[in-house]
Symmetry: C2
Subunit: 316 residues, 2 copies
């Protein structure tokens, strides 16, 4: 038996047709597991559990393999691959979905073998929370489990989404999802509420405003790496998750310091992903590019705190 | 002649009637110069050039004086004090103005004496950009000039607002103002455009997302201090400016390191301001509270950058 992978991801592999003000892509590789796996593969060995149809192009499979991604859990089912078609407006805040064809994904049921179950790091990408819970409960004893979700599930199965939040170590949400799930407009309060409801830690992704990490003990943030050449925001969140969990798996630690570095690594990988359509840029990025962006992100926040001496000033 | 103040502020002193989901205040002390001066007075000696009417309550004047603010430039004109009435919705993003009575402010013409002109730090709060330029040109040779503005002037006098940006060392704008003035939706590009148009440095204030500083050489951010007990966001920007410039005046430096600390100090003072109506909380805050928030803001961003060794990973 092969040694286990560092990270297991369970999620979607799709063919995306996307239009943005900066170009378009037709039936390009997409899906949460694809972005996550390629991003995380920069740092660690990744295994993927997902499903594609018989029409899944061999070059996409080859791309995963050339990134060292273990595809033993990538099932090929009778029928067509999951397809998503969407467009972004000038604001680029949110995708407008034009068409979703679930195809083989509609009956997707993750199948984990012993090697999958032994992975020390687990990413539950955005799928039905019932499936996320099923996968989590099949795992032996992962050191760290991270989840993602989306508004679709928050609207339909809020209790199950909250159950996932309680079972995982870190739950990723974007601003809108955090507000919707918590029923709070202010993000600080939304995070409070999710912790009160049993989440151990949440990361709120805020696009160009970066991301914040909250647990009962910790509260820290990362800025976004400032991207001038944004082309397609699709997959930013999954690429963020890949950088975050990839960094932790590579360091083999998830103490406060490692989590802070990992958050910056997430921001770094998200910034690369959005510079091109599909996970192309992630697949092409060189280690020195990643290292340079990590340094830049660090420089954006680093300073020494000068002790405050307010003797002789005014006030009470 | 008295020694010069550290900081001169030129702006408005008003009586604000504000309603938020968390309470209301009627004819309370407001105005950009008021929030700025009380915030900055925690760190440095502040002089104020502004105008009030004959109805200006003596207790507000006493509050300024108890904070060591030099009121020799606070003119009392015949007529009523500037009044603003507004409300915030649940989102608390933007004030909805119900009524503006310029009163004595409509004919305000800043009068600077020799002592005002000698101040080493200048804050041009949000007033007509023509007046901002006039004040700036009367100053001897301030070490650092910081400006603010608002959408009202960007819509009516964009060229003059840009002229102010070129004359000052650091221009403060909120997200919406930066986008409007630059004609760019993405903030990174908006900042680029303003620098191309001659601004030396801009600070973009982003509410609960903190603030970013951009010059040709530097790009750094501060998170907002997470406020749970937000009551009234009025004056947050001016309080931010007061913390920023107050810190620089106190340190007597504005190198990169001082600017980074000052940005965190701005976020700290803004967080205090919004916990109550009017600048009450600013006037009451103790040095140890300020110091503790500064430490918290620093902890939100501080980590050591681990060198990235991607030998043995996948990818090009």
């Amino acid at each position: 038996m092969n040694p286990s992978n560092d990270i297991l991801v369970v999620g979607s592999v799709a063919l995306d047709s996307v239009r943005t003000p900066f170009g378009e892509a037709t039936e390009a590789l997409g899906g949460s597991a694809s972005y996550f796996a390629i991003s995380a593969s920069r740092f660690a060995k990744v295994g993927m559990v997902a499903v594609v149809g018989e029409d899944f192009p061999p070059e996409h499979r080859a791309l995963f393999e050339s990134n060292g991604i273990d595809l033993s859990g990538l099932e090929t089912a009778a029928g067509r691959t999951f397809r998503w078609r969407g467009e972004y407006n000038v604001e680029l805040g949110h995708a407008h979905t034009l068409e979703t064809q679930l195809n083989v994904f509609s009956t997707f049921h993750p199948k984990l073998d012993d090697r999958h179950r032994a992975a020390p790091y687990l990413f539950l990408a955005n799928i039905d929370p019932d499936l996320q819970l099923e996968v989590r409960r099949q795992m032996k004893s992962p050191r760290l489990t991270v989840s993602d979700t989306m508004n679709y599930w928050i609207a339909r199965k809020p209790d199950r989404v909250l159950e996932v939040l309680r079972e995982v170590d870190v739950a990723l949400l974007n601003e809108e999802e955090a507000r919707a799930l918590a029923g709070e407009t202010q993000l600080v309060r939304a995070a409070d509420r999710l912790l009160e409801q049993g989440a151990k830690a949440v990361i709120i992704k805020k696009g160009e405003h970066g991301a914040s990490y909250r647990s009962r003990e910790e509260h820290f943030i990362t800025p976004a790496f400032p991207v001038e050449a944004l082309r397609d925001p699709t997959g930013a969140g999954d690429s963020f998750a890949g950088g975050f969990l990839g960094w932790l798996a590579r360091r083999g630690a998830h103490d406060g310091e490692a989590l802070r570095q990992a958050l910056a690594c997430g921001a770094t990988m998200a910034s690369l992903a959005i510079e091109d359509f599909s996970p192309r840029r992630l697949a092409e990025c060189r280690p020195d590019e990643v290292a340079e962006r990590l340094r830049n992100v660090h420089q954006m926040v680093h300073y020494d705190l000068e002790p405050l001496d307010l003797q002789g000033t005014n006030g009470p």
